[in-house]
Amino acid sequence: MLKDVVSWIDYSFFDEIALIIFAVCFLAIVAWALSLRKETTHKYGSIPLNEDVVDPKPSQSNQSTNSGRNPR
């Protein structure tokens, strides 16, 4: 039964399906990325530069706990 089903399927159109799926997904992602607001992307893009932790408390070594203490 399974063998019949498998042999019946025509796999030769797989590459066309793949191309269509890829194109749809790609265009959706591009459209979404372009729809982002500038302030949003700036905020996201700046995440690596903002090492401040919410509500930092003094460290055990009694020094500032902001990670900005590390040399940049």
Binding site: V6, I9, Y11, S12, F14, D15, I17, A18, I21, F22, C25, F26, I29, V30, A31, W32, A33, L34, S35, L36, T41, H42, K43, Y44, G45, S46, I47, P48, L49, E51, V53, V54, D55, P56, K57, S59, Q60, S61, Q63, T65, S67, R69, N70, P71, R72
Partner: protein, 780 residues
């Protein structure tokens, strides 16, 4: 984070955490150490190519481990798994904690990951030179090591990383983390599927796939392993460490998103371009080429994004070696990702494939992109990890210049060597004969190989400078590292998402579906998904699995893709033993077994290879490089057992100018006939049929060995060698295999009925009698 909404009770419950930088220090140290080892082995193998006689200075069993073919996998695996692997882990452990504003989920898993990975590298470094290999490029390590990799990668590393994401304190997942997720997911999938094997012992296994299917699976793995291990995580590294070093955000976050998804969607399809003009079906090859070419745009989008991140900060590049390394690293990313798509175009690939051009391409990426991004990251990390100044910025500058010169000195001659090879192989005289022999082309490029020895040594010297600088920086560290402890409110599990944008079509007389689509197009759903690592991971996994299935399934399920050839029969027990030796010695590192349908190839090596010829080849041995001639028709071209015997004993005497080392250990070692039965049973399990009782495998093999030996002795060969009869030499099995390779195609169909093991001697005679004469014989 600013969007966190805390209840009163949550804000009271403070959590304490510290960043686990000790694990980053471990991985950085390991990166430097394995970087030195991996590049040093690279220099060693480059020396072995120009001075293959080095192994003559050692006892034959020691010399065997000093052959290019056995050590080249050690070099590639050390560069990939040890050097690049540890660099990736250092980057991931450092940046993930900062990007998630939390500590790693489990410090214990981190240690298990570190030590487990180093143990894997050490075991690989011991076993690969011993000839314990699966015989597939970048996947040489045998199945117990593969299992260990799966455990360490997925359970120790993957789980720790994903749990860290789930316990993070930064709502948005920064783009670097997306690249890391894609790395973990895809490498797991690639590793598992390509390493599906049938084990016959702790140190031997056979790929479940054969021939064309195995080739497609391997290059689906090979291409994507380079993509998702050597590119994607390094892009994650770039998107974190470059903005940090330049002290400005990435040029375009939108571009980084498009860059990411394009690579995830496209990379996974491009593998078949490594198999142009082989026995792979045309449609798969074309698919690989199209997606290969498509990779150019997103790759350059990423490169441009990286370079433009330095806008307004170029003055820093002149004084900061870290930025210098990054700029050149990203430039080499651009070069390699222009060249890669170009090489995937069939007409270009026809010239470049099997030549040193591929080697130059790989090294411009590995030394330039991976190496320099790693060095830049390490120089940036050293003062932060050791909480002191970098010992010598000047030395880092020198490392940069020496490394850059070394890369150029390496790749320019090797590009020249590759193009020289490609052009010489296809040159024809006006009468249609070949202009050059294979050995002519080899002799022409040896001076380029010498240049590579110098360039490689220079690059290693640079790595040594880094090691020394790191050591001196470590020595000036404080007596006790300052480990800040952060006390922060627990991260709220609930989150007030902004309201989903309403459709502008509300109230308009349209179908409800149109209104829903309009709301969907506002893409608010993706902004929610970005914060959900599990769902995000599933999305990546689906993209990769779906594409892989669509590409791989037709080859496995459509019979017409691999037309069978009635005369192609399973290998005999002795030939199977010989094939194992071929794989163990790593012959595929220098010899292809795939003749392309081109005039020059046919003239040089014989009739082009057919898909149905390698259906019993577990694993396939098509190779990717021709340091020596193609062997797909060696059984047709060279049937003399004595020639093979003498060639293995003194290759350069038989083929003047050959760079093949001697394989005297194969003459001196005794073949273990009792082991052969296991091998035959594995072949039977994988689809071969045998007419004899498998318990008699050793006897069947002995009988064939006696025939092969009798022929050698008749031709003037020795009766005894190293204290045992010639027929008991290991090399007899390898000779039997080589005498068989490529001959089945020319057997008359009616004589192919008996199982091969019943009459191997008859088959050999037929092959000799029925084969059409080669137009040109080549120098071996």
């Amino acid at each position: 984070m600013s969007q966190t909404s805390l209840t009163a009770s949550e804000s009271e419950a403070l959590e304490q955490f510290s960043y686990d930088d000790a694990i980053v220090r471990l991985f950085v140290t390991a990166t430097i150490f394995w970087g030195f080892v991996g590049t040093s082995i690279g220099v060693l193998v480059s020396v072995l190519l120009v001075m293959p006689s080095i192994s003559d200075m050692f006892r034959s069993d020691i010399g065997a481990m000093l052959s290019f073919a056995r050590l080249r996998p050690l070099h590639t695996n050390a560069a990939i798994f040890a050097f690049a692997g540890n660099a990736i882990f250092a980057a991931v452990y450092y940046s993930t904690q900062r990007l998630c504003k939390c500590s790693m989920w489990s410090w214990t898993l981190g240690r298990l990951h570190f030590w487990g990975w180093q143990a894997i590298i050490v075991v690989a470094a011991v076993t690969l030179p011993m000839g314990i290999t699966q015989g597939k490029e970048y996947a040489e390590m045998e199945w117990p090591i593969d299992l260990a990799i799966a455990v360490v990668w997925t359970l120790f590393f993957g789980v720790n990383f994903m749990m860290t994401l789930l316990t993070r304190r930064e709502r948005h997942l920064y783009v670097s983390l997306w690249f890391y997720i894609a790395t973990i997911v895809t490498v797991t999938i690639l590793h598992v599927f390509n390493n599906l094997v049938f084990p016959t012992g702790w140190s031997k296994s056979y790929s479940l796939f054969a021939g064309v299917q195995d080739a497609l699976m391997q290059w689906w793995y090979g291409h994507n392993f380079i993509a998702f291990f050597m590119t994607i995580p390094f892009l994650g590294l770039m998107y974190y460490f470059l903005p940090k070093a330049a002290d400005r955000p990435v040029y375009s976050y939108k571009l980084s998103i498009i860059h990411f998804w394009s690579l995830v969607f496209i990379y996974i399809w491009a593998g078949p371009h490594h198999l142009h003009y082989t026995a792979l079906p045309e449609w798969a090859s074309t698919l690989g080429m199209l997606f290969g070419v498509m990779l150019w745009m997103p790759s350059w989008g990423g490169m441009i994004n990286g370079i433009l991140t330095l806008r307004g900060a170029w003055h820093k590049v002149t004084t900061d070696p870290v930025l210098k390394f990054f700029v050149v690293g990203i430039t080499f990313y651009g070069i390699a990702t222009f060249e890669g798509p170009m090489l995937s175009i069939k007409s270009v690939n026809a010239l470049s494939h099997y030549t040193d051009w591929t080697i130059a391409h790989a090294h411009s990426a590995a030394l330039g992109w991976n190496g320099f991004m790693t060095f830049g990251m390490i120089y940036w990390l050293l003062p932060r990890l050791y909480q002191t100044k970098l010992w010598s910025t000047k030395m880092a500058e020198w490392h940069f210049w020496i490394g850059t010169i070394a890369i150029l000195l390496y790749i320019i001659p090797i590009y020249a060597a590759g193009i020289t090879q490609g052009l010489m192989w296809r040159s024809l005289k006006p009468n249609g004969d070949l202009m050059y022999s294979f050995l002519d082309s080899l002799q022409q490029i040896i001076p380029f190989w010498w240049t590579r020895v110098g360039a490689g040594s220079l690059y290693v010297f640079g790595v040594l400078m880094l090691a020394f600088n790191a050591l001196m920086t470590w020595m000036s560290r404080p007596s006790k590292y300052d480990v800040p402890v952060y006390s922060v409110p627990r991260f709220s599990k609930t989150y007030d998402d902004p309201e989903i944008p309403k459709s502008g079509l509300a109230g308009t007389p349209v179908l409800e579906l149109a209104a829903k689509l309009d709301a969907l197009s506002k893409f608010d759903w993706h902004r929610r998904w970005e914060r959900l690592p599990v769902r995000f991971t599933i999305a990546i996994m689906l993209a990769v699995l779906f594409a892989s299935a669509l590409e791989l399934l037709p080859i496995f399920l459509i019979q017409s893709n691999i037309p069978t050839i009635a005369t192609v029969k399973p290998y005999t027990p002795l030939e199977l033993a010989g094939r194992d030796i071929y794989v163990a010695e790593g012959c595929y590192n220098c010899h292809s077994q795939m003749i392309r349908p081109m005039v020059a190839e046919k003239l040089m090596f014989g009739e082009f290879s057919k898909p149905g010829e390698s259906i019993y080849d577990h694993p396939f041995q098509w190779g990717s490089r021709r340091i020596g001639p193609d062997l797909a028709r060696i059984g047709v071209r060279q049937q003399s057992g004595l020639w093979h015997w003498k060639h293995f004993e003194h290759p350069s005497v038989i083929s003047e100018g050959s760079v093949m080392p001697n394989y005297r250990h194969l003459l001196e070692e005794r073949l273990n006939y009792q082991e052969i039965e296991k091998r035959v049973r594995a072949a039977q399990f994988l689809g071969a049929t045998y007419a004899f009782d498998l318990k008699d495998s050793a006897d069947v093999a002995r009988k064939q060995a006696e025939k092969v030996t009798a022929e050698i002795i008749t031709q003037g060969g020795p009766v005894e060698y190293n204290g045992h009869l010639t027929k008991d030499s290991t090399v007899i099995a390898l000779i039997a295999y080589l005498q068989r390779v490529g001959t089945d195609l020319f057997k008359p169909e009616e004589s192919a009925a008996p199982a091969p093991a019943q009459a191997p001697e008859a088959r050999n005679t037929e092959a000799r009698n029925t084969e059409a004469p080669m137009a040109v014989s080549i120098s071996q």
